[in-house]
Subunit: 165 residues, 2 copies
């Protein structure tokens, strides 16, 4: 994830023209509560922290949590709304090399939807306690999905540029 | 995934009131080409098919594919726009039991964003050939991410309701 403290276009970065309008709308269905109030405080990736974070689901959706307690792990989708959406080539501060946006998990992407796999610790009412997040406190939640090892787990997957850096 | 041929509310299903407005907008950044023209033809899950599907990225974003060719697997996010967004309890046709929306991978959810892990076969220009999709032909693409086994792979994750059914 980028460690830029602001999102100006850096040397080696390249933007594209955004479409004139968006194509669909999303609802923020809750908020994620984490210990991290500023970008610089966030762990570089989710495996760097064992902090227990809280997912506060809007009560409107609470009945949708039925059976979620039977899951050991979940996929969370959330919205990283502080990022530019027009970068196609970027130079993440943590790597210092130009990469294509779609080869990175940087929040700067056309649709700033983050995906994290988290371990579910506990559900109380509309609040889920989870481990495995690295986002800012207050991040808008988009979705909660059950994690199926049969389709979602690929232990031998390789990101070549990362392995060889 | 639900096998309903239409999305009426079935016995045992429960809806909620949707918020008055959406909170953010998303861009369709491409289209997914698959062999499946109707819902009934789609595989029930992505591991049921070894069909090679094509991801057509809008040329506007093509430079963002740099370095993606070094990835063996990708996360694709896409938009399942034919689904109702107000269901909190649903009875998937393939299981016949009432479940909470967030315990299912059903396309019917407040934000109908699907997540699939796919194997990357080849990239030519703005087209990616991948294995591991189960969606309708023409499905709008939202994002392409590198799959990091270190954070995304949890081989021993369990979905209890599914194991015990």
């Amino acid at each position: 994830m980028s460690t830029h403290t602001d999102f100006g276009v850096w040397p080696g970065e390249q933007t594209t023209d955004l479409p004139a309008q968006t194509d669909a709308g999303i609802y923020f269905i809750g908020r994620i509560r984490t210990p991290w109030k500023e970008r610089k405080d966030c762990p570089k990736n989710a495996r760097q922290s064992d902090a227990v974070c809280t997912v506060e689901l809007d009560p409107r959706w609470q009945d949708g949590l039925k059976d979620v307690e039977t899951c050991t792990h979940l996929v969370l989708l959330y919205w990283m709304d502080k990022s530019p959406r027009n970068l196609v080539l970027q130079v993440p501060g943590s790597y210092g090399v130009q990469r294509g946006t779609f080869s990175l998990r940087s929040p700067a992407r056309p649709n700033p939807i983050a995906m994290s796999v988290v371990k579910l610790m506990r559900i109380e009412g509309n609040e889920l306690s989870v481990v495995g997040l690295d986002c800012l406190d207050g991040t808008p939640l988009l979705d909660i999905k059950p994690y199926f090892a049969s389709t979602d787990s690929v232990p031998d997957a390789v990101v070549g540029w990362h392995r060889n850096r």
